[in-house]
């Protein structure tokens, strides 16, 4: 082999290690998962929305409305009687539909009398994620199509209607039903916008807290090993559990402090996007003292669980550099939770994804505030109980590792299969 070839071979060997490859694979995996989700949104948008129609007007113009809707949507309920609203809503809800559109008796009359014809839309909102809002957006597009069709018809008829009404013959009056709450005058988009801090800000901040504090714990373990201070620490007359809990608590304090600083900046950034001006308290969407307590408990328990998980990973760190790589699985889990919650509500997820999301401890504080706003205490309390159990088991694992030779020798007494599995899972990360 030539000298040049020899040097190239050495460089490739030095650089192409699991430490450099694994992050790239994980990022590629994440992009792939995101691509699938975005693809899912596109697919959802192509689907016909499921709706119900009540045409009380039963006129020539209302026939245009129902005609467009029948052609472009999946109509699961149809009636001409205004008294059937409850029945219609029930049917649409059963079919997983998006809205019940009611064309009132005076629809055509209003238009011909120079007032926009009002369509009453009862939105059935299933969730606040981006994907949950897709059917609503499709129905809104259909309303625009209807608007154009009626406009065209009025022009063709040479109708003496006011030009403003000819251009915009339709008006919407909207009521949204979400998790049992009826919000008159609000569309799902407005509600989603007003709750964007619960949908976007909180998941991002939680992800930051977990990643930062987690990185502190893992780096601390890596540095203890790199600086050869761990052996001294472990021979001091202090309980091993105190070392574990001390490291977790110290990292949590520093991580939280950093997250608060980020949170202030990010809060201002997100405020610039909020344009709805809707006071959610008017619709009963507020949190009480006990709700805030539960959110705090969920955040605290999750932080503790996350940091305990990081401690387990930290024991595999050989030095500071390898520690940086070991945070990736935790970041990945937090990012999965964050993206899924942005795209979908827990309630509208497919069962398998629901289980996965529940099992990832980081999902729970991300979902807690929104769930509590709609009185979903079962999800929040169940989540807290799960996260506490997760944290307890993980801390027990860390305490066990601290009592074995693992920390100093990267070996633990374990049955062949278990050792092989763990080595496969983590062992190579640190190299």
């Amino acid at each position: 082999m030539s000298d040049l070839g020899n040097i190239v071979k050495k460089e490739v060997r030095e650089m192409l290690t699991p430490t450099t490859i694994v992050p790239v694979i994980l990022v590629a995996f994440l992009f792939g998962a995101m691509g699938n989700m975005i693809g899912g949104v596109t697919e959802e948008a192509k689907k016909k929305p499921t709706i119900g129609i009540i045409d009380e007007d039963n006129s020539f113009l209302s026939a245009i409305v129902t005609g467009v809707l029948r052609e472009q949507a999946n109509v699961v309920y149809s009636s001409t009687n205004g008294a059937d609203v409850s029945e219609g809503l029930q049917k649409v809800e059963e079919e997983g539909g998006a809205a019940l559109l009611v064309i009132p008796l005076d629809f055509s009359e209003n238009i011909y009398e120079n007032h926009p014809g009002e369509i009453h839309i009862r939105w059935i909102m299933n969730g606040m994620g981006t994907m949950d809002l897709v059917p609503t957006q499709v129905v809104n597009v259909l309303i625009q199509v209807i608007n154009q069709e009626i406009s065209k018809k009025l022009v063709e008829e040479n109708s003496p209607v006011n030009p403003d009404v000819v251009i915009n013959p339709i008006a919407k009056s909207e009521t949204t039903i979400f998790k049992g709450k009826e919000m008159v005058g609000l569309s799902p988009e407005v509600i989603s916008g007003a709750l964007s801090s619960q949908s976007i800000t909180i998941p991002i901040i939680m992800m930051m807290i977990i990643t930062m504090a987690g990185s502190m714990v893992i780096s601390s373990m890596g540095m203890e090993k790199e600086n050869k201070t761990l052996e001294t620490l472990l021979t001091l007359p202090v309980k091993r559990n105190y070392i574990v809990i001390g490291k977790i608590a110290g990292s949590a304090i520093v991580g939280l402090l950093m997250a608060v600083i980020y949170m202030v900046g990010f809060g201002y950034y997100m405020q610039s996007f909020q344009i709805s001006g809707v006071n959610l308290a008017d619709f009963g969407l507020t949190l009480g003292l006990q709700d805030y307590f539960l959110v705090g408990l969920s955040v605290f328990a999750t932080l503790f669980a996350g940091l305990s998980l990081c401690m387990v990973l930290g024991t595999f760190a050989k030095d500071y550099k390898s520690a940086q790589t070991l945070i990736l699985p935790v970041t990945l889990l937090a990012m999965i939770s964050m993206f899924v919650i942005m795209f979908k509500d827990f309630g509208t997820l497919p069962p398998v994804l629901k289980v996965i999301m529940f099992l990832i401890p980081f999902s729970h504080p991300m979902m807690a505030m929104r769930a509590l706003m709609f009185d979903d205490y079962l999800l929040v309390l169940g989540g807290i109980v799960y996260v506490v159990i997760f944290a307890a088991i993980t801390i027990a694992v860390v305490a066990w590792i601290f009592k074995t030779d693992r920390l100093l020798t990267e070996r633990t007494k374990m049955r062949k299969g278990g050792a092989k599995f763990l080595r496969g899972l983590f062992g190579r990360f640190g190299r």
Binding site: N227, T229, T232, L234, T235, V238, K239, D405, L408, K413
Partner: protein
């Protein structure tokens, strides 16, 4: 009472037998040296005595306490100085000593321990500089100060003068001797046979995880008709 009592100690790392049936004892108030080549098992034995590693079989007692069953009690009696150990780089020497001292007492007791540590380390005004600015010799002196400031019943020193120049090495040897006069027992390991001859009252020669010879250096030299411990070791191993 024996300061250290090691009986039929075996330590395996997977298929590797790091310690293979080693037995020796260290008396209170003596300096005992473990001597052997690299990978002979010296550090593994010291780590076991320091409660850092589990044992495969056999038993190890420190001042009558089992290192596995009574690990927390043993940690109150010992002080361990690992080879190539470091200190927290972002702390000053003084803050590092204070951090360690707080595990051994509060208030006035902590202050006394730190003062003793500073006296042993003898770093002058540099004690208030960050550890990251220290030379290798200064870090080692700080760590020796840390190890001996608590006046442990048993000081376990792994290659105490490793990587140090002649002057620093001599100073550290003197510090170790002084600590024994104050009542400590020292168990140390070293490659440096001269150091061992100078320091140790008794030694154990270790090779491939086995204790191959034990006794006081003078007697061993006589027994093997050797000029120094290096020759003793070569003759014993061959």
């Amino acid at each position: 009472m024996l300061a250290v009592d090691v009986k039929d100690l075996v330590k395996n790392f997977g298929n590797i037998k790091a310690v293979d049936g080693a037995s020796f004892d260290v008396h209170e108030g003596e300096i005992f040296g473990l001597i052997g080549p690299n990978a002979a098992g010296k550090t593994t034995i010291l780590r076991i005595v320091s409660t850092l590693l589990q044992i495969t079989s056999g038993s190890v007692k420190v001042l009558g306490h089992d290192v596995i069953k009574e690990a927390e009690k043993v940690r109150q009696l010992i002080s361990y100085l690992p080879e190539d150990a470091g200190a927290y780089k972002n702390l000053t020497g003084r803050v590092y000593l204070e951090f360690i001292a707080r595990f051994f007492g509060d208030g006035g007791k902590t202050k006394k321990i730190v003062e003793r540590g500073m006296e042993i380390a003898d770093l002058g005004e540099r004690i208030d500089d960050k550890v990251r600015t220290y030379s290798k010799g200064m870090i080692r002196r700080l760590l020796v100060g840390r190890a001996l400031m608590t006046e442990p019943k048993l000081a376990i020193l792994d290659e105490p003068t490793s990587g140090l120049d002649v002057t620093n090495s001599q100073e550290i040897r003197e510090i170790i001797k002084k600590s024994v006069k104050r009542g400590a027992t020292v168990l140390l390991s070293s490659h440096n046979m001269l150091e061992v001859e100078f320091l140790c009252e008794r030694i154990a020669l270790i090779n491939n995880g086995k204790i191959v010879e034990e006794g006081d250096p003078l007697r061993l030299k006589k027994k093997y008709r050797a000029r120094n411990l290096e020759e003793v070791f070569t003759k014993v191993v061959s």
